[in-house]
């Protein structure tokens, strides 16, 4: 597939917002006593605002994916069948609950943690929707597995907790160590899952072959013409247009940036108690996430490509 930056930003930014929200709610529910109420209020309100900003940016980016963005409102209609439609509902639901959660803390509502739990559930639901958009396309075999969901959740959590570290360093320093521990954990598990996913995908056999695509059983079939020489939607949308080396490098880059890169910077930040290093860790990790999501799309091999191989 050709990676679309609108969707890359949507999934990474929203994912971070979702992870951050889990971090906030987690602290809210289990660790409320670690800081002063006033500081906690600022921390939760500010965190919710950050979630809103990140999610809002993701949502904003997603509009660039649409040919007719002015009709976006129609896209909630098919929630019964379409994971995309469900996502379209889940994103505002999550953002709405983020706002509610922030407002509840801001106004000192006692039920704020409950709103937080609801928001966390919405975050989880949004991950399911987002991941299922890809995982439900069963003939895109790189996507059609539980790894897709696990990867989205774990990388979202890792980036969200990294963001929580940064935010906590600013607004609630006492929580930084706990967030750091959680971040390491998510990064380690995410790395393991991502490596397993890479291994699985590397060993995948395509579900379709040129033989099944045109229904002729002969081991030797080669396309000579796709019927159009100047390119079509099908050659633009489903091919990344990059070399195999570029793809390999993208994989190395995202693996290095997200895992050793951001982990090292986090550890250094912890060692030297340096907020700038924390920010650097977040930036490096996010760049890695962009590369990871680019790779996620690029690696997906669509069976339609069997029909669009050669011109002459």
């Amino acid at each position: 597939m050709k990676p679309a930056f609108s969707v890359i930003f949507l999934t990474t930014l929203c994912g971070m917002a979702q992870g951050l929200m889990l971090a906030l709610v987690g602290a809210d529910v289990i660790g409320g006593g670690h800081t002063t109420p006033l500081a906690a209020r600022d921390f939760f309100v500010g965190g919710a605002v950050i979630c809103l900003i990140l999610g809002g940016l993701g949502l904003f980016a997603s509009f660039f994916h649409l040919g007719r963005p002015e009709r976006f409102w129609r896209s909630a209609a098919m929630w019964r069948t379409s994971w995309l439609s469900r996502e379209v509902i889940a994103v505002p639901a999550f953002l709405g609950l983020c706002a509610l959660y922030g407002w509840a803390h801001y106004t000192g509502q006692r039920w704020a943690p409950i709103a937080g739990v609801a928001c966390a559930l919405a975050a989880l639901a949004l991950w399911v929707c987002t991941a299922m958009i890809y995982a439900c396309l069963r003939f895109i075999r790189e996507w059609a597995s539980a790894y897709t969901l696990a990867n989205f959740v774990l990388l979202g959590c890792a980036s969200g907790f990294t963001a929580a570290c940064v935010w906590a360093a600013w607004a609630a320093p006492a929580w930084v160590p706990a967030y750091l521990q959680a971040t390491y954990l998510f990064l380690i598990v995410a790395l393991a899952v991502r490596l397993l996913m890479l291994r699985r995908n590397a060993g995948l056999k395509p579900g379709s072959t040129v033989q099944s695509a045109i229904g002729i059983n002969n081991p030797r079939i080669q396309q000579k013409s796709m019927g159009a020489m100047g390119g079509t939607f099908n050659t633009r949308e489903f091919f990344h247009g990059k070399s195999a080396l570029f793809i390999k490098n993208a994989r190395i880059v995202f693996l290095l940036l997200i895992f050793p890169g951001s982990t090292l910077l986090l550890a250094l930040a912890e060692r030297y108690v340096n907020g700038l290093l924390l920010i650097a860790a977040l930036v490096v990790q996010y760049l890695g996430l962009l590369a990871e999501r680019w790779f996620f799309f690029a690696q997906a091999n669509h069976p339609q490509n069997l029909y669009y191989q050669v011109v002459s």
């Binding site: 409102w73 909630a76 209609a77 080669q222 000579k224 020489m229 050669v310 002459s312």
Partner: protein
Amino acid sequence: MLDLLRATPPVHDPLKPALPGSTHEVKKTTCYMCACRCGIRVHLRDGEVRYIDGNPDHPLNKGVICAKGSSGIMKQQSPARLTVPLKRKPGSARGDGDFVECSWDEVFDTLAERLGKIRATDPKKFALFTGRDQMQALTGLWARNYGTPNYAAHGGFCSVNMAAGMIYTIGGSFWEFGGPDLDHAKLFVMIGTAEDHHSNPLKIALSKFKRAGGRFISINPVRTGYSAIADEWIPIKPGTDGALFMALIHELIRTGEYDQEFVAEYTNAQDLVDLDSGLIVGKGDALEGAQTIDGKATKPAFELLKERVADCTPEWAGKITGIPAARIVKLAREMGETAMRQSFELPIAWTDTYGREHKSVIGRPVAFHAMRGLAAHSNGFHTIRALSILMTMLGVIDRPGGFRHKPPFPKAIPPGVRPPKSWDDIQPNKPLGAAPLGFPTSPDDLSVGPDNEPIRIDKGFSWDHPLSAHGLMQNVITNAWRGDPYRIDTLMIFMANMAWNSTMNTSQVREMLNDRDEGGEYKIPFIVVCDAFASEMTAYADLILPDTTYLERHDAMSLLDRPISEFDGPVDSVRIPVVPPKGQCKPFQEVLIELGSRLKLPVFTNADGTRKYKGYEDFIINYETAPGSGIGFLSGWRGPEGDKALVGEPNPKQWEMYAENDCVFHYELPIGQQYMRNWNRDYLEFAKDVGFNGSLEPIRIHIYSQVLQTFRLAAQGKRPGKQPPEHLRERIETHFDPLPFWSPPLEYAATDLEKYPLNAVTQRPMAMYHSWDSQNAWLRQIHSHNYLMVNPVTAQAAGIADGGWIWVESQWGKLRCMCRYSEAVEPGTVWTWNAIGKSRGAWNLGPQANESVKGFLLNHVIAEELPFGDRKISNSDPVTGQAGWYDVRVRIYPAAADEPQETWPRFAPMKHMPGTGLVKKVQAYFAGTK
């Protein structure tokens, strides 16, 4: 609000009218997106073309339409349309592409003055050459009345070998002249045919044939198009088909599995040939056995054929063609046994020319089709003679299941039209003393002067190419530039892209068009181009006449020309405009009538010197081949009431009657006149009555060609009359063999075959016709550029990757292009689609259009002339002058990594011409919203 979360009924109604309130109209006319000429219905919405479909009531295409015909809308929309007359900007150099608009008055004044002067002094200095224009009856008549011998269409470049080789043998040929009867055939053998000629009818027939269980064999170096659906593909080396036919004849004779009765009865096989003179001196009654007549030793023609093919064994042919000998043996048996053992009879009574009544016609279910793959070789004439004789031996000529003629064919062998015989035929201010093109019967019919100097600028009908029935368009520019045989003044080109794909040696021909003599005068002083589009050729014009498209004009596809007849009878058809001409476009035929009237050419002028015809429509209605002949351009609805067919007085309402009848007139012959027409008394009487033929004599098939023998005798110095020049005697003696033979293409003798091991050929894709569709926004998306198709074994041996940039080099030149591997081409051949590559800016395409960056034209490496002793001679068949453009030999090698990834040669971009359109970045055609 809840709507957001609910599926709603469709908003966009797919069934509602696309443009409510618009007006709709359907007009019928005839397609011209290629030369097939299908009947079409043009659906107009608010006057704009909304849709073009096949006319279901048309006999030719029966409602179907092809990719080109379906893209006619884009021809109308093309920004390459010329819309105003243009003249070369005063002071600018030819070829610079600087033009200024002028008026039609100025055009006619200029031309009338210039052509009038030429006509009054030396009419041969005006030359008119045309492309595949479908109006040769009119252009030929015009040239003849003007008085110049220098007229031809593109046949010399196209397929004259196919026409001449078969017409000189069986009195008819493929395509417009005849074709395979797939309704009755069981075996269909297609040789050297791509996917162009007679395309829709052949597609319809192929599909029916295959579904009925017929067996289809394709013999071709390449497997594409029609060959793709063949039951068997037999790859063959280009230019070797003649050897295959000779071996098949050998095998038929060896096994006796051929129609001996047909050969004896209906051909000159039993005629007795004087072994000394090679002339036929009597009629025998056996296919074999020597006889002595008047003291002369003779043998039946058939015995001479048998002797000729005695050495042409399958093993011999196998080495030449690349087809295993065993396959040739099997092919011959398959043909012979299908023809003889699966024959059938149709209960159709007919009477032969000897008065014998037959109760039935015999069907021989082996059909053939062949085209340019055989024709475009310098050995093509004899290859096609051999094919005609093979078909004759199978007894399939004008019989069910075999080959069937289309009236006005068969014609006498050869047809009774002769070219000018001497300079006397060319006189100032007089019509030509003969037709510009014809069919010589002996050296005495040649168009040469007293010193054997060619009368025609293309050296047609000279000793160089005596039977060049369609002229040699491919040599006109080179000859005129060199002044050999003479200089001309004005060259008028209609719809032929002679600065690009309608010429060989393209790069140098473009220079010739611009070349000047010592005095600074252009070597071709004045070039007039009439075309509908800004082609490569228009850049070299001094005067450009904007033609209309086919949807904007009247046309007559006349029986006097190359009509669309069916097996069962003559058919002619017309075009009637469905939309008004764009800008100041004027149909070329109107230009001819206007100019002819101004020049007072006899055919367009009354006895009192006044103008005879108001315009083209008036001319078509009222012109008769001779005063009171009742024969005109159109054969339908003749007579004052429109109730006469084929012959009758002019009918002032003839156009309207065609319009009311699908623009087509189909005269179905009585069933008894539909077969065996070479010898069918009733048919031949009919044909004489309506002017198709001059005689009632049976048209006996020329297995032995005495016409050719007369030339050979002249070459041997054994015949009085015109004598060939010394340097051509041997060539004439060799190639005017009264029996067919195979020899390698002439170019091979001048080629290092080890250095240039590959044959390079082209063919036309089904979705593009010649060069003129590159400006078509839809068709060019299918073919925007071309690759050289190479067998992977050949490519890998040369170190060439699939998709890689390569050089293709012949001894004449080289070009750079991309390679595509293909398993569907025999390893000794490389091929590409013809005329996809374009010169930059031509056809109003952008400077980076794929056609000029990645597309290429093979013609750059094909020579129009070959060395001949210390002279040069056209690279053509020595008999007919058919361009040998499939003879070129090349080698291929990878382009260097640091070379630009674009084709070579490239030329300076053509400039935007006044009156042509602006190129849009986005096009969204929706009829009726203009």
